[in-house]
Structure formats: C-alpha cells, structure tokens
Amino acid sequence: MSALNINGKDHSVDADPAMPLLWVLRDILGLTGTKYGCGIGECGACTVHVAGKAVRACKVTLAEASGHDVTTIEGIPDSHPIVHAFAQLNVPACGFCTPGQIMQAVAFVKQKPDPEDDDIVQAMQGNICRCGAYVRIVAAIRQAVGADR
C-alpha cells in the first residue's frame, strides 16, 4: 500500500509502485482532470504538483510520489487568479490541455510572481495546446500576475 495525500486528502493506494502517478490518479482514484497526452513528458497535459512543484504525472511513479503532497486540477479553487484569468479570456477551446496548462501556470506564478513575457512563454513551452490557444494562455497568465500585484 502506498500513501498519498492528494488535494489535502489522504489516500491509500494498492497498486504497482512503478505505476506512473498519472494512471494512479486517473484509473485508480478517478481524478480524471489530469490528462494523458503522450506518456513521455513532452506535452504537459498531465501536469500536477508534487511537493509544491509542477511535474509531469506520467514521469513520476507512485513510489516517488508516496509521502508527498500532491495537488491536481481538482484541488485548484475557482478563486485562484490563474483560473479567474483563464475564465475571463475564455481560454479553453477543446479544454483537453487546460488542466495541465493551469497547473503549470499556477506553479510558475508562485515561483516567479513578477515574470516578464519571455519568462511566461518559456515556462509554458512544455505544455502543448493543439487548439493553439497560446496567445490567450500567455495573456491570461500576464493578467493573473497583474491582478496579484
């Protein structure tokens, strides 16, 4: 049994310790906001926070995540400035990459509350949006950090 704290709630998971956190979240715990897009850490659709840092859940095993606090999209409140800005700019198109984009952005602005535009683009470079909403994603993050100040 592996112990995980997800979004402030303790879980005990009986699964192969080598199973990527992505599949633990999706198939075992039913937290499907974290998406599978590539399985090799290239698309960012499965971005979650482990111990406060943005990671690709497809590249972290259950064993590695055990004992750490995990935050998924389901744990980000509506009131978060990033979520608010994504809503204001009507960012999602199909919405499939949106949770990963938000998780990446939330961790980024926490670590760098006053970013330049280039920093934002660089931080989001690992998150593919196949609907090409990058111009809105970057604008939303810019707006959110403005609102934070």
């Binding site: 198939d27 198109a93 199909c94 593919i128 949006c129 609907c131 990058y134 111009v135």
Partner: protein, 786 residues
C-alpha cells in the same frame, strides 16, 4: 429537413428505442458534472413527464430550465455554446437558465457528421425554427391562461409578458399548458425580426467553461464505468499486415493483466474497421500498456512492407512531370507556354502528416443483453453506429453511440476504427471495455494526410502578364481507405482548392495524377486545400516576382474577369463542398475583399527591417474566404521568427465572434505547425515517428503577434474551423522569399537552407513595370528546386 414533432405529446421517446434499457446515463449539465450512471438508467434524449419538448432539440422543464440537445460534436470549436446562442436569441431565453446536453447518434437529429465546418450552415435555421416553435407555444399557453390574444403575449427574457397589462408568467409555469398545445407548422412560424440580438454577434463565455477550467468536462478518456476493463492493442507496424503467431505468457505475468485476445485483422482497404492486433486486457490502462510490451508477436507484414516515403516521393514527382488526367482546361496551354517570354516551374511537396489530436483515440463499449452502447469522442456518431452494426452484425436499434467531449477532432475522430475495436472486444468478452490508444499508437496508426507532389508550370508575356498556368496534383486518393483500386482522387477531393483556381489566366490546364495507396488516409483539418493552396498561392507569388510586380497588386490584377467564376459553364466537375454553386458561388469579389481587408490592416507596403519580408496568401475553402499577411524575420543562422500575422476571414454572418476569433488564432498555430514541423516518414512500411519528441507540434514559443479580422457580412454563415488554415503556409513561404529570395517549395520548411541567405531587404512594393527584384528565370529554364 428536420421534422418537428411534439415528443411530450406523442411519447416519441418510448418508440425510439431509447427506452430499450440500454442507454448510458451520462448527462452533460451546464456546469459539466458528468453523472456516469450505470447502464439501463435514464436517457439523454427526449422528454420526461411534465416537460415541454416539441422537437428533438429543445426541452423546457417545469423549473424553467431550457435544455438544448446539441447534435454536433464539441471538439473545441464551441458548437455547444454557439448553438445555445442561436436558440437563446430566437426563444428570448435567459443565458443562466440554459442547459446543454449531447445528442446520441440518431438520424432524427439530421446530419451529425461534424466535419467540413458545416455546423452553423446546416443548423442555424433549424435551431431558430425549433426555438421559435417553443416560443410560440409558450406564448399561446400564456394567452390561453390569461384568456388573452396571442398577439398581445410576447416572450421576453424567459418570461411571457401580456403587453397591454404587463402581467408576466415565467417559462417554467407555462410548460404544463404549452405541452398540451399543437406544435406550430414550421411554415407558419414567426421568426424573430431582430433589431438587435443579445447573444448572437456578441462575446459569450463558453457554456462549458466552468467545467473545463476544473478538468470536469468528460472526454472519452475520462469515462469510467463500474466493472470496466482496459485494453491496449499491439497492431502490425505495417498497414495491411497481420499477426502470424503470438506468445502472451510474458504479458500475462504483468500485474493487472487479465487476458490477451487477438482482434482479427481486416484485409485492406480497412475503412472504418480495426486494423486488427493483439489486445491486452487489464484492470487499468498502465497494466494493459505494460503487458503489451511483453508480447512476442510474429507479423506477416503484408503487401506494404516495402513502402518507403522517400522512394514514394520520387515516384510521385516523376508522375507529376508527366501528363495526367485533364480536369479543367481553357485556351491552349502548350502554345501559350511556348510563346511565353518567361517560363517558370515549381515542384511543390507536402509530406504525410498525422492528426495528433491531443486526446488520442479512445472508446468505451458495453455489450450486455445483446445490445451495445458506446461512449467515445466521435465526430460522427450516426456513422459510428452504422459501421458498428455492420461490423458486429447487430441491428442499429440495438446500438447506442454517445459522443463525449473531444480532445480535438481534425477528422481523426470521423474515422471509427477505435470504436469498432472497443465494440468487438466488448462483444467478444461480453462486458465493458475501454480501448486506450497511446500516443505511439496514434502517430503510427493514423489515417494520414496524403503525401502530395504538385508540379506547376507557368508563362508570362514580355510585360509580366500571366498567360499560361498548368497545375498537376498527384496524391493518393482518400477513397483508397474504403475502396480497392482507387488510384486517382475524385472530383470531391480535387474540388478542395484545386479545380477552383481563381486567377484569370487565359491558357489553363489542371491535371490529376495517379498514385498507389500504401497507408490509411483520412480527412484532415483544412482538407486538401492545405497542399493545393500552398502550391497555387506560392506559384502566383513566383509569377509576381518574375514579373517584378508587387504580389498583392499582381493578385488584384489577375482576379480579373467576372466576379463569380462559373465553373459549371467551364465544364468543370466541381462539387463545392456539397452545396449549390448558385447559392455559394466562387466569388472572386470576396477574395479581393479579404485581400484588401488584410492589406489595409497589415499596412501592406510599409517599410520593414533588414532581413524581414512580408508575404500573403488568399484562398477560398469550405465556402469561406481567408487571407493572411505574415511578416517574417530570417536570422543569419536561418532561424525564422514571425513578428506579426494578420488573418482575415469572411465566413458570412458572424454568430459567435469570440469562438471564430479563437479558431483563427488556432488556424494560425495549426498552419504554422503544418509549415514548420509536420513530417511523417515511412521506412519498410512502418512509420518512423512515434511521439511528440519526434513528431513536433507548434508550441507557445513560436506564437506570433496575431491580428485577427472578421469581415462583417450578411451572407449565409459558412465555415470557420477549416478555411483559414490553408493560407498560413504559403503566406509564410512567400514572406521568406520576400526576406531572402529563397523559394520554399518543400514542407516542412527546412530553415537550414535559409542559413547565410543574403538579405533581400524589405519587400517594398515594386512600382509598375519596375525591374524584377530577382533574376527572371530564363526562357526554357527551370527554376532551381529546393
């Protein structure tokens, strides 16, 4: 035409098989909570007791919630929101009191095949009729209640008002009375005469926005049913191959793996049916994927084992240098070319490309009691149902197909092999199964955009006037995925940006070549205009350059002659995306208009910095008109950056401006990905790429400064998802030419060959009859290939 019937009166629901006990109860509520119930519970379509449901699209419940059943698939184009906007204006409904649910695949909804940017064109009027009939029934019910004249009762913001006395009744309180009334005859309906609309034409938040922001919109991949098993399938790396033998013992030793079963290979052409392969069934996705890695399989690679995309390209290029089947002709091309002062030649190449939807194919199938229910991200649930019925020898009445949200579609999810895999496994195993495609599966077993070779030959007279144009297109027919012996594209494919060449050139020849198919091909975003516009919008730019003319002025000059090109009169078999050419003509005036619009907004002709160039492209596809002007900077190391792009779309009436704008932003990125990265290669019959590390997509870093312009129009609302994509690649390549003098004819763009290119300098518009900016190709010579 959609038949309007009163479901609540006729208890239509029970007769339509949805009471059959095999309906999956996934209900898409406006806040997106997907209550994934067990099967046999509830339905999504039709009225329940006490509701008003005069047609299949709109239901009003006694609490006053207006429930719109959306019959087109949601894949990011915002169709659920746009349909709700159309309905809400006609019904005069209040936005917060609207809920949207997704229709199952069922012919009573009409056309559900969500491709080709047609949803608004097909359904705008239908939805208005559906909403107007509900409104008139509510008004009539109020009149009956008040014993007043119907003419004095008017729906306003989710209530009916008795105008003379200002009495009001909310919609919900009128449901009971209204549901006993006859449905107005569609011909007698009074549609709203809008002086202004509250929703259509305005920026509206997506109706699923709140759910999407919290990861709660259920995509196919997110559906889980009690007792469901997960399947991952190893397919033959070569199209048309099959397993000779396999050893499952290693797979069975993986924790969570429960079974290994072979799905029979479909002999090519496979159409919508599975490729076949070895399916590993497990208690979760990862176990199934890991189990697959331990399979030992001996393949019979079949007839395509020697397919090599490099060799194929060379063969197709040879074909494109020979006379093909003539599909449009005017004047005498050969004598005009012989007499031309300047001759130009270009070989244009577009490689195979994958769809790469961010959500890979996935499907859930439940087979219980002889009936099949499928939940899947599909662009075409009716066709999925038909295909399943044929493949599994079931009656359509015993099959339910419910579309989930789609993490992109792009035509991939118009093909139903993954749904058939799930259906076959559910039937074979007698239960609930989810077929999970990995990204590697998706890249290696897609229905590809065909490789294409195009040869263009043109001639100018001594004044630079284009007098001869020959365009040969060679690509394997998409129909080859469904039918044997399809070696040349049909009229519908050639109608995508090829037969409708709009330039007024007196000697014209369009030819189609022959190409043997070796892979599965399928519909893609932008269609075959992606290749055709790349070539034709580039070659007219080559002509302008050879003539020493400003390319925009050149285009204006040769959008000459009648404003509407009558292809029928020219004897061309042009299919016009299935629509009447009289109603939706090939309108050169609209092409000129989007070009002028773009030139004005992009400050065409303004000076640029050194190493910069400005390029343009204009194209009609999917009945809409698009123009792009791109500014590119080419660094000394060949790397390019795009400081600015202006994109103009004329898609007729603008229903949902924010989503159209989003689709334009999307078209830019999709088009840049196509131009800069998309490149799928095949060796020994197998795809060489596998994932996003070696099959690149556009990322945030290449996002240009975007200026999107929508042309105000009162014309019928036509497409927005596809038509702006094809202009991006040629506009970019024309800009690179303006910056460097290097002509790009091969995609994806090889920036390495731009290294150390001399800066051609700012592409200031040339004065009429000015000397050519680049050396004119000598008569009889061929332009250098790249």
């Amino acid at each position: 035409m959609i038949r309007i019937v009163n479901l609540s009166r006729r208890k239509f629901l029970k007769s339509m098989g949805v009471g059959s006990g095999l309906v999956l109860g996934v209900y898409f509520s406006p806040d997106g909570d997907a209550a994934t119930d067990d099967i046999s519970k509830g339905s999504t379509a039709g009225a329940e007791p006490g509701q008003l449901a005069p047609n299949v699209f709109i239901t009003v419940d006694p609490a006053g919630t207006v429930i719109l059943t959306v019959c087109r698939s949601e894949m990011g184009q915002g169709i659920r929101t746009t349909f709700a906007m159309i309905m809400a204006d006609e019904l005069d409904a209040s936005w917060p009191k609207i809920a949207v649910r997704q229709a199952d695949g069922d012919p009573r909804y009409g056309d559900q095949n969500t491709d080709g940017s047609r949803s608004i064109l097909i359904y705008e009027k239908v939805l208005r009729i559906a909403a107007a009939s509900v409104r008139q029934m509510l008004e009539a019910a109020a009149a009956q209640t008040w014993k007043a004249l119907i003419a004095d009762c008017r729906a306003v913001d989710h209530e009916v008002i008795h105008v003379p006395t200002a009495r009001v009744l909310p919609f919900g309180q009128l449901v009971k009375a209204a549901s006993t009334l006859p449905v107005p005859n569609p011909d007698k309906l009074r549609l709203q005469d809008f002086s202004s609309r509250r929703y259509v034409g305005h920026t509206m938040p997506s109706i699923d926005l709140g759910a999407m922001l919290h990861g709660k919109t259920p995509f196919g991949a997110d559906i889980a049913l009690p007792g469901m098993k997960y399947a991952s399938i190893e397919r033959c790396p070569v199209y048309g191959g099959k397993a000779k033998s396999f050893d499952a013992s290693g797979a069975m030793n993986v924790r969570g793996v429960e079974k290994v079963i072979e799905i029979p290979a479909t002999p090519p052409p496979t159409g919508h049916l599975p490729l076949g392969g070895i399916a590993v069934i497990a208690s979760n996705s990862w176990a199934a994927i890991e189990g697959r890695k331990k399979l030992q399989i001996e393949w019979d690679l079949g007839p395509n084992a020697n397919h090599d995309s490099g060799t194929y390209r060379a063969e197709m290029e040879t074909t494109s240098h020979r006379t093909g089947r003539i599909v449009r002709t005017l004047g005498n091309f050969e004598s005009a070319l012989a007499g031309a002062a300047v001759r130009l030649t270009g070989d244009y190449f577009v490689p195979y490309q994958a769809h790469a939807t961010l959500e890979p194919p996935v499907a859930i199938a439940v087979y219980e009691g002889g009936k099949l229910a499928v939940l899947a991200p599909t662009q075409s649930p009716q066709i999925a149902r038909q295909v399943l019925a044929q493949y599994l020898e079931l009656k359509e009445a015993d099959i339910t197909v419910r579309p989930t949200f789609l993490g992109n579609g792009f035509g991939r999810k118009s093909m139903h092999d993954y749904i058939c895999e799930a259906g076959w496994l559910a039937k074979a195993l007698g239960g609930r199964i989810k077929v999970v495609w990995t990204r590697e599966d998706d890249i290696r077993h897609d229905y590809y955009q065909p490789m294409s070779l195009q040869r263009l030959d043109g001639g100018l007279d001594k004044n630079g006037v284009p007098i001869a144009w020959r365009h040969r297109t060679v690509f394997p027919s998409l129909n080859s995925t469904f039918h044997a012996d399809q070696t040349s594209p049909d009229a519908a494919q050639l109608s995508q940006g090829f037969l409708d060449m709009p330039y007024a050139i007196p000697n014209l020849r369009l030819e189609a070549g022959v190409a043997q198919p070796h892979v599965r091909l399928g519909p893609h975003r932008g269609g075959l205009s992606m290749a055709h516009a790349f070539a034709s919008c580039s070659f007219i730019d080559e002509m302008a350059a050879a003539a020493g003319k400003d390319p925009a002025n050149y285009l204006f000059t040769y959008y000459a002659g009648p404003k509407k090109i009558d292809l029928k009169a020219l004897g061309v078999d042009y299919t016009n995306y299935g629509y009447s050419i009289d109603e939706f003509p090939l309108d050169v005036g609209r092409l000129q208009n989007v070009l002028q619009f773009a030139m004005d907004r992009a400050a065409w002709g303004d000076p640029l910095l050194p190493r910069q160039g400005r390029g343009l492209a204009v194209h009609r596809s999917f009945l809409s008109y698009a123009a792009a002007i791109i500014v590119v900077t080419v660094a000394e190391d060949g790397q390019i950056s795009i400081p600015r792009i202006d994109l103009v779309l004329d898609c007729g009436q603008i229903i949902n401006p924010d989503r159209i704008k989003a689709l334009m932003e999307d078209s830019i990125m999709y088009g840049l990905g196509f131009a800069l990265y998309g490149n799928l290669t095949i060796k020994n019959g197998a795809v060489e790429q596998s994932n996003f590390d070696n099959y690149q997509l556009a990322r945030a870093g290449i996002t240009p400064e975007m200026h999107v312009h929508l042309v105000p129009s009162g014309q019928s609302p036509t497409g927005a998802g596809d038509p702006a994509v094809p202009v991006i690649a040629p506009a970019l390549c024309n800009a690179i030419f303006a910056a460097t003098g290097k002509r790009i004819r091969t995609l994806p763009i090889d920036t390495g060959q731009l290294k150390d290119s001399p800066a051609a300098g700012p592409a200031a518009p040339a004065a009429p009859n000015a000397p050519a900016a680049i050396p004119i190709t000598p008569t009889g010579g061929a332009a250098p290939k790249n």
